[in-house]
């Protein structure tokens, strides 16, 4: 006791003790590895298995990629250069890239035309994809189909101009008469367009395409990845309005229109795309007038458009069903008629909800354009399996070609799905 009273405090801290670093097992890389890779025994086993799988994959692919040969002119030369080592023969890509991208018949000196069309496509798509861009750019988007048609097919410039004039005239008629009655404006517009096209068709002289500014390229000369892109873009953009119409028709109160839409949608969704492509290649010709020759590209576009329209219709129907009933009733109570209610209230919301689904359909459709190789159109897959692998120089170069095709499709599809996720976040207006 007495000791304590004389010297009551044995130790006095002079300052704050600096915080000790956490134990090595609780910080930094070690902690991360422990938490994320080896948190339990099964987890540790999984990690080791995953590492083994990654090692095996890399062990096969890395030497193959690194030793790749880019400069030879046939598979045999490739093998000589490689001299027994494992390595890819990428020279097939450097030698045949034009065939893979444009098909084997598109005139080589005209490659700038599809290239320009692709660049302009990006410009035209930009205002649709990004809302912050000035709305004036949409005018160019409206003009783009005609410019692209003229660039890719060439021939007389009169044809796209007549088509454009028809659309402009129809739009004007709709603007004037559509205010009073939607139906009058709509059907009036269609009639106007038909009249303009018929008259304009007579104006184009016979053989106008022969000495046109751009050399005319027939549809059967299109091919390669360009064909996939063209089919994808054309069919998705054509099937959107058709899909919206089908979805609205399926929701309609009118039994006849509803049943036409239901039967069409369910029929198309019940059969594989290949059978529809068979229809395009062997059957559709029977349904056109006897003297008409509709080329294969157009027939395929028609069938793929109908196909994707049915899927898009189902996606949009989901969006329409997801809207609260109050929105429909609110539109009614404001005294809006059906076209106004749809255009101003229902569709903007329903389409917003449907965007992820629509993008899914678009990506799926773009991937499905490879199926045209089955009906002997030379798209990217068709080029690989047909002319390139069958040639004596490149018989046996499977992995490089298929890998290249897979790479191209992956870039485009992954890009689109990333865009869709960005858009979803951007459009999310609900409160979370």
């Amino acid at each position: 006791m007495s000791d304590k009273t004389t010297n009551p405090i044995a130790f006095v801290a002079k300052g704050t003790i600096p915080p000790a670093p956490p134990p090595a097992s609780q910080a930094g890389v070690v902690k991360w590895v422990r938490d994320n890779l080896f948190s339990s025994v099964p987890n540790g086993v999984l990690t080791l298995v995953a590492l083994a799988v990654i090692y095996l994959l890399l062990q096969k692919t890395v030497p193959w990629l690194v030793n790749g040969v880019w400069t030879t002119s046939s598979l045999n030369e490739c093998r000589e250069v490689l001299d027994g080592r494992v390595g890819a023969c990428f020279s097939v890509l450097t030698e045949r890239w034009h065939q893979l991208l444009y098909g084997f018949k598109y005139p080589a000196d005209q490659y700038w035309r599809p290239n320009l069309a692709l660049v302009l496509l990006l410009v035209a798509a930009a205002p649709v994809l990004f809302f912050d861009l000035p709305r004036k750019l949409l005018i160019f988007t409206g003009l783009y189909p005609f410019i692209a048609f003229w660039l890719i097919w060439g021939g007389t410039i009169m044809a796209p101009i007549v088509a454009l004039v028809g659309f402009v005239a129809a739009g004007a008629v709709f603007q004037i008469y559509g205010r009073g009655s939607f139906a009058l404006g709509f059907f009036g517009g269609i009639a106007t367009a038909l009249i303009v096209w018929t008259l304009g068709g007579m104006l184009i002289p016979e053989g106008a395409s022969d000495n046109a500014m751009l050399q005319a390229v027939p549809s059967r000369d299109l091919g390669g990845f360009m064909l996939n892109l063209m089919l994808g873009v054309t069919c998705v953009s054509l099937s959107l309005p058709l899909g919206i119409a089908l979805a609205l028709g399926r929701q309609s109160d009118m039994p006849l229109i509803k049943w036409i839409c239901v039967v069409f949608i369910e029929f198309v969704r019940g059969v594989p795309l290949i059978t529809l492509l068979f229809v395009a290649s062997v059957m559709l010709a029977y349904f056109f007038p006897p003297d008409a020759t509709v080329d294969l590209f157009l027939r395929v576009v028609i069938m793929i458009t109908l196909f994707s329209a049915a899927y898009i219709a189902e996606v949009i129907r989901g969006g329409l069903a997801a809207l609260p009933k109050g929105q429909y009733e609110a539109a009614d109570s404001l005294g809006l008629d059906y076209p106004q209610a749809m255009r101003l209230i229902i569709l903007p919301q329903a389409l917003k909800i449907s965007i992820p689904g629509i993008v899914n359909v678009a990506v799926g459709l773009f991937k499905d354009t490879t199926l045209v190789s089955v009906i002997s159109m030379f798209d990217l897959v068709g080029m690989i399996r047909g002319p390139i692998l069958a040639s004596t120089e490149w018989n046996g170069v499977y992995w490089e070609l298929l890998g290249f095709a897979a790479f191209l499709f992956f870039i485009v599809c992954y890009g689109i799905s990333q865009y869709s996720q960005w858009l979803e976040r951007r459009l999310a207006t609900d409160h979370r």
Partner: protein
């Protein structure tokens, strides 16, 4: 002052067909019916004219004519003297076979990948994310061709198995992976109860179904006991016994033995041959659709709110039971509808068989038969009819199942 009175009964006037919303729909439907009839007439008329010009008619008689082509992969007896109809039947069975196999394996791949993608193991979840993104974003046709190429170009020919020091050997001396297909041992019965092999296999199937029913009974009995006494009787050994004893007994009685494939002459003989095209199609469809199913499974599990897991943990359930008793039954309701459409997609995508020469209905009826007979319209219509029926049946069966697991709301 009367505030309300019946509106005056209006006489129906013709202008109301345009101006009155009550009657306008009649006008629209009349126009639609007219347009529909006109287009049908137009198309039909074109068809008749075109057929007459080509000297053709619509007739299904060709189905009875000899087909004249061989089919390698077949489930029923067929040779090239059989009719086109028989060839179509072989094709239908092949389509159903590959669709059935691919549905099972795609579900397995998808569930594993979907669950692993949610794993707290960083490496594994990233690996699964890469798998899903790579397979979803590349066309299934390219995958089919890639795997078919592996089958034909990367595997050794039967010749490589020959000699004292062969370049390739059979796996476990039972399985042979060659570029002509994969050979696996075939089970058969030495002393079957019935003379026909098919009947013996039906008997095996019947025994298995019986075991399944008995298991359900045992589980029901155990649940009943648990309700009454609060203690669940141990059923593991009973269930094992019900499955194994009758099955093994039957196998011993019938004398099960295996026919192992062996190299004879230029090729392997015996065993079951699974052709390269079938494997390519099966595997490609499985991993491609598996990636989609993985996303559905992940979405389904994530749709279950965290509170459910936490509540189950608070009740003292172990993680495995939380998954089995709380999360999965609820997640299944979210997963099943998209799963149905994935099964439909597999069935429809199996038509890509034509790209690798697997003799499904598209390749027989829509391919060789169509080209030989030139009966384009009939073949394509029959083809569509088959796929429509298959789609409808699958969605019907799955809808029944979906209704049975649906949330019962009162």
């Amino acid at each position: 002052m009367s505030t309300l009175s019946d509106p005056p009964q209006e006489q129906f006037r013709l202008s109301m067909l345009v101006n009155d919303t009550r009657y306008r729909s009649l006008t629209f439907q009349a126009i639609a019916a007219l347009l529909l009839a006109l287009s049908i007439w137009y198309l039909g008329n074109n068809l008749i004219q075109n057929l007459r010009a080509a000297g053709l008619n619509i007739s299904y008689d060709f189905l009875g004519n000899p087909a004249g082509y061989d089919i390698n992969q077949r489930l029923v007896e067929y040779d090239n003297q059989d009719s086109h109809g028989r060839a179509a039947l072989v094709g239908i069975l092949n389509t159903l076979l590959v669709a059935f196999l691919a549905c099972i394996t795609a579900t397995i791949f998808g569930v594993i990948a979907g669950v692993l993608r949610l794993s707290n193991n960083w490496l594994v979840s990233k690996l699964m994310a890469v798998y899903v993104e790579i397979f979803r974003n590349i066309p299934v046709l390219i995958w089919i061709i890639i795997i078919f190429t592996i089958m034909t170009a990367a595997l050794p020919g039967p010749r490589a198995f020959r000699g004292d020091d062969p370049a390739s050997t059979m796996v476990l001396d039972l399985f042979a992976f060659t570029n002509r297909g994969v050979y696996i041992p075939m089970p058969w019965f030495e002393s079957g109860i019935f003379a026909s092999a098919a009947l013996n296999w039906l008997l095996v199937l019947a025994v298995l179904v019986g075991s399944f029913v008995a298991t359900r009974k045992i589980e029901a009995w155990a649940s009943h006991k648990q309700e009454e006494t609060g203690v669940r009787p141990k059923t593991l050994f009973m269930v094992l016994g019900v499955w194994l004893v009758p099955f093994l007994l039957l196998m011993v009685i019938m004398g099960l033995s295996w026919e192992v494939p062996a190299l004879k002459g230029f090729n392997f003989q015996g065993g079951i041959k699974i052709g390269g095209p079938l494997i390519a199609l099966w595997f490609a469809l499985s991993i491609y659709t598996g990636a989609f199913i993985a996303e559905n499974v992940r979405a389904g599990i994530q749709a279950i709110s965290k509170g459910q897991t936490e509540a189950a943990a608070a009740l003292g359930l172990r993680p495995g039971r939380i998954m089995n008793l709380v999360v999965l039954p609820q997640a299944l309701r979210v997963i099943i509808p998209p799963l149905i459409s994935q099964y439909l997609n597999i069935t429809k995508n199996s038509s890509l068989a034509i790209a690798v020469g697997y003799a499904d209905i598209t390749a027989t009826l829509g391919g060789i038969t169509l080209n030989q007979t030139g009966r384009a319209i009939e073949c394509v219509l029959l083809l569509m009819l088959f796929y429509l029926t298959a789609s409808l049946v699958i969605s019907m069966v799955m809808n029944v199942y979906n209704a049975s697991v649906k949330l019962k709301e009162r």
